[in-house]
């Protein structure tokens, strides 16, 4: 079966996220919202697998091997697995 695995490649919490801060302050703040924002990259990988769990773990394996995140600065997390 095919699954869409949604990965979030985002900076480790110890690293400041100026993009998120700017969206929060300049864009949302100007509209009167006070909302904290963190920005990352969402990569959707289409994976063949027997189960959602297998799809997720395969996607993370590929992400690691291909360095979809830079281990020095990023964390890669699965946000969602959807059957296709």
């Amino acid at each position: 079966m095919k699954y869409a695995v949604y990965l979030n490649v985002t900076y480790k919490p110890s690293i400041r996220d100026p993009e998120g801060e700017t969206i929060s302050k300049d864009l949302l703040g100007r509209l009167g919202y006070s909302v904290e924002v963190r920005a990352g990259k969402c990569l959707v990988l289409v994976i063949d697998a027997q189960s959602p769990e297998e799809a997720a773990s395969n996607a993370l394996k590929i992400a690691k091997e291909a360095r979809l995140g830079n281990p020095n600065v990023h964390v890669v997390e699965v946000l969602k697995v959807a059957p296709l």
């Binding site: 900076y11 690293i15 400041r16 100026p18 993009e19 291909a66 360095r67 830079n70 020095n72 600065v73």
Partner: protein, 212 residues
């Protein structure tokens, strides 16, 4: 003396490096990434630009090419390797230099002439500078904020931090491998440079190092 200027899809500083080398008195060779082979060149320059369009993140995709395995092999043999801007990003992504270069703080691409201090002159590229010398070079990047991961040796530091780099780091080195975000190839021609040809000594240094 063979100096390779390595070009990936999206590299755009290749001809600028060739011209800087020419102004400094040497001839570089433009080498397409699939043609690069270890053991052929006395030095290699990874020119600036946007290899693979900066997709995923700057330098990440070029770092995974076979060409970079060859560059690693050459580097281990003592061949001087220089990465400028995107070249620096590729070197950190490929693990030839420590740390990472992440999006600027404040965010956004920035194009500006900046003052840069040479803080280490023990490299094939910096030994003609005086320790502490301040030179002007342009920066033009969106992902130039240096984040260390463990030990690193800075070779250049910004006088005024433009991008949120840790400890004002503008360039780092490891033995014969140097990477920097400012563009020394754009600070050679006197008509185009601002406040002196700040990049010239880097090229002269490399050339005389190779001739020694």
């Amino acid at each position: 003396m063979r100096i390779a200027v390595l070009k990936f899809p999206g590299t755009n500083g290749d001809y600028d490096v060739l011209r800087a080398l020419e102004l400094a008195g040497a001839r570089g060779e433009l080498v397409w990434y699939r043609d690069y082979a270890a053991g052929k060149y006395d030095a290699v320059v990874l020119a600036g630009g946007f290899s693979y369009g900066d997709r995923l993140r700057a330098g990440a995709i070029a770092a995974a090419t076979k060409a970079m395995d060859h560059v690693r092999e050459d580097a281990e043999r003592g061949v001087p390797v220089l990465g400028i801007c995107n070249g620096f990003q590729i070197l950190t992504e490929a693990g030839l230099l420590p740390g990472a270069l992440i999006p600027n703080d404040p965010p956004g691409f920035i194009s500006r002439w900046v003052a840069v201090r040479v803080v280490d002159t023990r490299t094939p590229f910096t030994y003609l500078y005086e320790e502490g010398e301040v030179v002007y070079m342009p920066i033009a990047h969106g992902e130039g904020r240096y984040v260390p991961a463990g030990e690193y040796k800075a070779a250049f530091k910004y006088v005024d931090n433009p991008n949120g780099s840790y400890d004002n780091v503008a360039g780092v080195y490891e033995k014969n491998v140097l990477g920097l975000m400012p563009h020394p190839e754009r600070a050679v021609d006197p008509h185009v440079s601002r406040r002196g040809a700040g990049g010239l000594k880097l090229w002269l240094g490399l050339i005389s190092w190779l001739r020694r």
